[in-house]
Symmetry: C2
Subunit: 204 residues, 2 copies
Amino acid sequence: MSDIPLAPWRSPLARALHRNRSLVYARYVQLATVRSDGRPANRTVVFRGFLELTNQLKFIADTRSQKIDQIWVQPWGEVCWYFPKTREQFRLLGTLEAVAAEHPNHALLQARRNLWRELSDAARVQFAWAEPGIARSETVASETVAIEISPPDAAEPLPNFCLLLLNPTQVDHLELRGDPQNRYFYSKDSEAGREAWAVQTINP
Amino acid sequence: MSDIPLAPWRSPLARALHRNRSLVYARYVQLATVRSDGRPANRTVVFRGFLELTNQLKFIADTRSQKIDQIWVQPWGEVCWYFPKTREQFRLLGTLEAVAAEHPNHALLQARRNLWRELSDAARVQFAWAEPGIARSETVASETVAIEISPPDAAEPLPNFCLLLLNPTQVDHLELRGDPQNRYFYSKDSEAGREAWAVQTINP
């Protein structure tokens, strides 16, 4: 672990997560992407921790969902993360990568499998539901569907299960509690061979 | 009031607002826009109610902020609104309009002025702060700045104060509490002379 350069925004983010840990939804963030027609899309996703030995955030997604289609065209995403208790916001802009069943990287496939195993049955069963976003079949009562679908195998992910990674290149941290507020802007230095970050205090 | 066609998503949204009213941050939403380089941007904004006699959501913005620059190029925005208590999400996609000091519409200018008057001194003084997003001057201690800036005139908005309107054309309402979840998709019928909405139940 001593060898990995933790990005400098990791420590204020960890502090915010800790101070807001009593709120389950402090791990819910909003992920913005861009649709193929150039309009923005925005939805709530659950933060699933960091990919080991990296500064990449883990989320889960269904390969059948629109966000997966969108990042094929435009891989950039921005997460907006508001912490209600400490009244602070992190905006994390970066590239998104979907790790699906056929991904060539074995370490990432293993990370995908591990994340699937950590999920609850309730989270896993959602990947066995009917295709998201299309008209709901009216002939089947929703209750019936829920009873009929048994939880998928906990060991092996369903093929439409995706590990979704955000690799941030800019992080904007705003503390609303200051008077005036405090705002810090972190940017990744892409010129450096190793991951290097610059930080600047900016006006809120 | 009887003459105004309230969009059909207004009533579930009003119900969510009511049921989550004990949480001040249930009025905080995430607004996604698109940057001039085609990447998404996402930040938290405060819902300020609906513009009278319309289905347009009101927010406030600083003309010096990046979102105002962004909507000049790409006026589409998507609000993601998560309600923690009732575990439901509204995604509202629509066009954004900034109503600044020189806006030609007198009714909108009046709405801008009214909103300014409704703000707290703490909200108004933010528009007197230094330009947002640029490097903070290190020669002036932040405490000094806060003391020196007195609250602006409550009657007349500062020139950089903007009323920001979102005019939704699509609303996606997801109820996480169902098993399986319930999801409703509302879309505005642009062909109709009057504002008309279609609603469909879709897979979560």
